[in-house]
């Protein structure tokens, strides 16, 4: 079963991707609004550019989840001293740094299309950036801190996770589409839902598949190293 999980996730992801593309481009309605009085298009209609939403929001949610997974795995690692937890934290962060870069890039594209600026210091983007910075910091520490890297990184993940509610409160709510219960996700039209959830499911599959592959890679490296050491001890190799 373990061996199959990555291929299964990949296949699901691939199917989901095709389905998402279909749903996003052919099923979900174009977003626009007609002003009742004048019969003309309302200025904030996004049309085709709104499709980015289906790529952008799932990534942003996953970024948020990634910080928590890294934080909780790090707590488990410090508690149980089992390297498996450390692998999960490190693997999740590695993949999330790439995904995070994707969020910020797609967010920029959307912003340019919608508001004609490449970046804005508004809540959602700021929050994504800050979460991403925590993850990048973790990755840098892991790479450059030397032998104690695992502990420092674990500390950063935990402290970063605890900081998330504070970051959330601090960024406030401004021009970005609303979040939470009144948020865009919850109130999106029923017509948007299939496309959105399919897209979300697809990216979750991709993300999980990548993380699992990364963790497996780390474990394989470790096993090879240990075998090599045993061989050296036994004098089988020089």
């Amino acid at each position: 079963m373990k061996k199959l999980i990555v291929p299964i996730l990949c296949i699901l992801g691939a199917i989901g991707f095709v389905a998402s593309v279909y749903l996003v481009f052919f099923n979900a309605p174009l977003e626009y609004a007609i002003d009742k009085d004048t019969g003309r298009l309302v200025g904030t209609s996004l049309f085709f550019n709104q499709k980015i939403y289906f790529f952008h929001v799932p990534h942003a949610i996953l970024l948020f989840v990634a910080v928590f997974v890294a934080g909780i795995s790090s707590i488990m690692y410090l508690w149980k001293h089992d390297l498996a937890w450390d692998d999960i934290a490190a693997g999740t962060v590695d993949i999330s740094v790439a995904f995070g870069a994707a969020v910020l890039a797609t967010g920029s594209i959307w912003a340019k299309a919608a508001w004609d600026v490449w970046w804005q210091w508004e809540p959602r983007l700021t929050m994504s950036l800050l979460l991403w910075l925590i993850l990048v910091g973790y990755a840098l520490v892991r790479k450059f801190a030397g032998p104690s890297a695992d502990r420092v990184a674990a500390g950063m993940a935990i402290f970063g996770m605890v900081g998330v509610p504070f970051i959330y409160t601090m960024v406030g709510h401004d021009s970005h589409p609303a979040s939470g219960l009144n948020g865009v996700v919850a109130t999106q039209g029923a017509a948007m839902r299939p496309a959105f959830w399919m897209s979300f499911a697809t990216f979750t599959c991709w993300f999980t598949a990548l993380v699992i592959t990364r963790v497996q890679g780390t474990r394989a490296e470790r096993e090879v190293r240990e075998l090599r050491e045993r061989a050296l001890d036994l004098g089988v190799i020089e």
Binding site: L78, I134, V141, F144, A145, V152, G155, I167
Partner: protein, 223 residues
């Protein structure tokens, strides 16, 4: 435990008072920052709005440098090892260090704040109590989180640059809250409600991270 923590804090303070090394160099560095800021903004009216940010950037930089230097001292003769070896709760090492660093940060702030007010004509002292509150809370917040990581990084490579790399993302909410609070105090129409909101924010932040630090300190610092 508190007794030992105070003993350790007192030791740090005594060393610092004697040599004044960190205090003088870092306070001077802070003053230089203020000078640089004043030249960074050519538009004089923009300066006033930027003062809150300048204050907290200065506190961020000076705080990190002080931490780095103070913990470097513990590396010089391997005294951190000696402290961790002592038959005292290891948390008292953390608490002692955090107290000493908080007071050191506060000392540096006492130099920087008046300089900012003087050279940039900012009415920082309009509400001294609130300002004192937020600066104290900020200084100790930096000390608490900073002591955990400075101690953990003691034996790491690249620790000089990694300390800010680790600290700044985590301390960002504290810096932003400090800036917003200070901004509310020096604004043309000061808003004490907002200032108090951000003071509460930093208070909760400090409490949350203090508890977290007490919880994980030993796991992070012992190899």
């Amino acid at each position: 435990m508190l007794r030992h923590a105070l003993r350790i804090a007192w030791k740090d303070l005594r060393i610092e008072v004697r040599s004044k090394e960190i205090f003088m160099t870092v306070a001077f560095f802070g003053a230089l920052l203020v000078v640089i800021y004043s030249f960074a903004f050519q538009d004089k009216s923009a300066i006033r709005a930027a003062v809150p940010g300048m204050l907290w950037v200065a506190l961020a930089f000076t705080g990190t440098i002080s931490l780095g230097r103070a913990f470097d001292r513990e590396r010089e003769n391997d005294t951190m090892r000696a402290l961790l070896l002592a038959p005292v709760p290891r948390l008292s090492v953390f608490i002692g260090k955090a107290i000493a660093m908080g007071l050191l940060n506060l000392g540096v702030a006492v130099i920087i704040v008046p300089l900012l007010a003087l050279w940039l004509n900012a009415p920082l002292f309009a509400y001294p109590l609130e300002l004192a509150g937020i600066v104290i809370a900020g200084s100790f917040g930096i000390a608490i989180v900073g002591s955990v990581f400075a101690a953990t990084l003691l034996k790491a490579r690249s620790r000089d640059v990694l300390l800010p790399v680790v600290l700044y993302p985590i301390l960002l909410p504290l810096f932003v809250a400090g800036t917003k609070c200070t901004a509310a105090l020096v604004a043309v129409n000061p808003d004490l409600d907002i200032a108090h909101y951000w003071m509460d924010f930093v208070g909760i932040y400090d409490a949350a991270f203090l508890v977290l630090s007490l919880w994980v300190f030993e796991s992070l610092v012992i190899e």
